[in-house]
């Protein structure tokens, strides 16, 4: 599978990354190099191997339904670039 500049634009949009026009070709090449490297894995015979859901051989780690103390609101909002009356304030959402 080859990544095209169009795929790069799509992935960039999904990731909310801005890639300057003159960098697209370079990034396309880099992404293809990464994928080619990972292609190696396709050479391994995986017949009869269940897809791995998790690398740690554990299951059923659960907690009881008990309420614990939450963060103080000042702390919760401490890293917010903008806030208003105890709310996180964020830029406009739907492009008009």
């Amino acid at each position: 599978m080859k990544i095209t500049p169009k795929d790069v634009a799509h992935v960039a949009l999904l990731s909310r990354l801005e890639i300057p026009e003159d960098q697209v070709e370079k990034v396309t090449g880099q992404l293809n190099a990464i994928l080619e490297y990972a292609e190696m894995l396709n050479k391994v015979n995986t017949d009869g191997v269940e897809p791995t859901a998790h690398v740690i051989p554990l299951s059923n780690v659960m907690r009881e339904d008990e309420v614990e103390v939450s963060l103080a609101r000042e702390l919760a909002l401490a890293n917010a670039p903008e806030q208003d009356n105890g709310y996180f304030k964020v830029p406009k959402i739907v492009e008009g």
Partner: protein, 478 residues
């Protein structure tokens, strides 16, 4: 032209746990903004979510009540999208191995039972709440409250088996009823603890392949589900009739304007790039645990409805209304358990009692009249101590004061007069005082009889036994 309608519903139900799905923050509705948050639900770096066992139990409970298979191996996945109600930029959900699959729900529409398939039920976290300043399209910023982020949800996805807006409403009502019976969700649509999205498409006939669908959001009441779908069906039919094409998109139902509006292009938004959640280990649900949960399930609405029909001869409709709410069905059982006639009890519950509950917007658990007192009142009626008309007066007094009916009847002197001699005296007095009416009746004016009965009732303050009055009046007048 007439199209064949295909609808599938996605229903999100908030689970009534005390704490969130992956952290110990409270799920309390209506808390001050951003006070039920912690590093885990805010998605701060380096935190480790741990699943709430009660959430898994509730999801299995819902799965069993909806006839699903419970998968012995299940896992969580990340669903990636950017929206400010989601602080992590992904929602922790379940993708290819949801906890429950292949269920069904039987609904009743126009007296016929129809089976709607349930594709899957999965667990996921709720998102936060955006408070917009002004209108969603023209505000410059939004305010976010993350209290709801991480509140546990189950998403119940139906097969595209629903064929009309009416069936969609019936499905949602039946689903709500079951979730309430098994006590996993409050199902308050007005508070958003039960939410419904619908996928709708049209095709030329039942055999044709499915058409392009739109997804309808913001269906926040049973009325909205029905009205929104009815509108969207007509809108799509008009587009197709004019030779147009349906665009696959998300549309929002605007309740006040009564229309659906395009929200965003779904094809783009649908690239969620799911992958297994590395911070949560898989779930292995044992057969023993499933069995334990199965044993703890209560009698479900359909079974209870059947029981009321068989045990008491109630009609399918009446039994359906009574059992739609578990609290109502419990109340009914107590009333009947105290010896009341089942049909009379059903009529009173669906009539006078429901009228009072609706008028004061309360549930039957908050009702001033205990089921024992309602049973005593029905017994007084059955024994002839009070007439059905007087029963309404007694009932009103019971609602107002919470007193037992025997006391009210005694205090207000409302006993029915069934003593023949007593009624004869009144009948004769009324006949003597109204010779014109007697003459009118004899001349063939039936209405005159009603007037005479009214006079007798007036004199006895409605307490005369109506059957006896009619019988004695006719005997005397002819």
């Amino acid at each position: 032209m007439d199209y064949s309608v295909v609808i599938g519903l996605e229903v999100h139900a908030e689970l009534k746990t005390k704490s969130k799905i992956f952290c110990g923050c409270s799920t309390q509705f209506g808390s001050d903004q951003n006070t039920n948050v912690c590093p885990v639900c805010l998605g701060l770096p380096g935190v480790l979510p741990v699943v709430n066992k009660r959430v898994v139990e509730f999801a299995i409970r819902a799965g069993l009540a909806l006839n699903c298979e419970i998968l012995p191996f299940s896992k969580f996945d990340r669903k990636n999208y950017y929206y400010p109600d989601l602080p992590k930029n992904y929602q922790t959900s379940q993708y290819d191995l949801p906890i429950c699959v292949n269920g069904y729900l039987d609904i009743e529409v126009n007296g016929e039972t129809k089976r709607i398939g349930i594709t899957r039920i999965h667990m996921e976290e709720d998102a936060g709440k955006l408070v917009h300043s002004g209108n969603i399209t023209n505000s410059n910023y939004a305010l976010v409250d993350y209290n709801r982020t991480g509140v546990p949800l189950i998403e119940i996805v139906s097969e595209p088996d629903i064929r009309s807006a009416e069936e969609a409403k019936a499905y949602l009502e039946a689903l709500k009823s079951i979730l309430e019976y098994i006590d996993v969700s409050d199902c308050k649509m007005q508070e958003g603890s039960l939410r419904c999205d619908a996928n709708v498409s049209l095709r030329e006939n039942e055999q044709a392949p499915f058409g392009t669908r739109t997804e309808l959001k913001n269906l926040n009441s049973f009325r909205a589900v029905q009205k929104g779908l009815e509108y969207e069906i007509v809108r799509q039919a008009e587009v197709l009739d004019e030779g147009g094409k349906i665009i696959q998109e998300t549309r929002s139902w605007d309740e006040t304007k009564g229309i659906t509006l395009s929200l965003r292009n779904k094809e783009q938004a649908h690239d969620y790039r799911y992958f297994p959640e590395p911070d949560l280990v898989p779930l292995q649900v044992s057969a023993e645990w499933v069995e334990e949960i199965r044993q703890s399930l209560p009698e479900l609405p359909n079974a209870r409805k059947q029981r009321l029909m068989e045990a008491y001869g109630l009609s399918s409709y009446d039994a359906g209304v009574i059992t739609a709410s578990q609290a109502m069905a419990n109340y009914f059982d107590v009333v009947v358990g105290h010896g009341a006639d089942a049909k009379a009890a059903a009529n009173w519950l669906m009539g006078e009692v429901s009228k009072v509950l609706n008028a004061s917007n309360i549930s039957i658990t908050e009702f001033a009249v205990t089921p024992e007192n309602l049973a005593s009142m029905l017994e007084l009626m059955q024994k002839g101590t009070i007439s059905s008309k007087i029963a309404k007066t007694v009932f009103e007094e019971m609602v107002a004061s919470g007193k037992d009916p025997a006391t009210i009847v005694k205090e207000k002197g409302l006993q029915q007069i069934s003593n023949e001699g007593e009624i004869v005296a009144i009948v004769e007095a009324v006949l003597a005082a109204n010779p014109q009416s007697v003459a009118d009746f004899k001349a063939g004016k039936d209405r005159a009889l009603g007037f005479l009965v009214g006079q007798i009732m007036k004199q006895t303050k409605g307490r005369a036994n109506p059957e006896l009055v009619n019988k004695l009046l006719k005997e005397r007048i002819n």
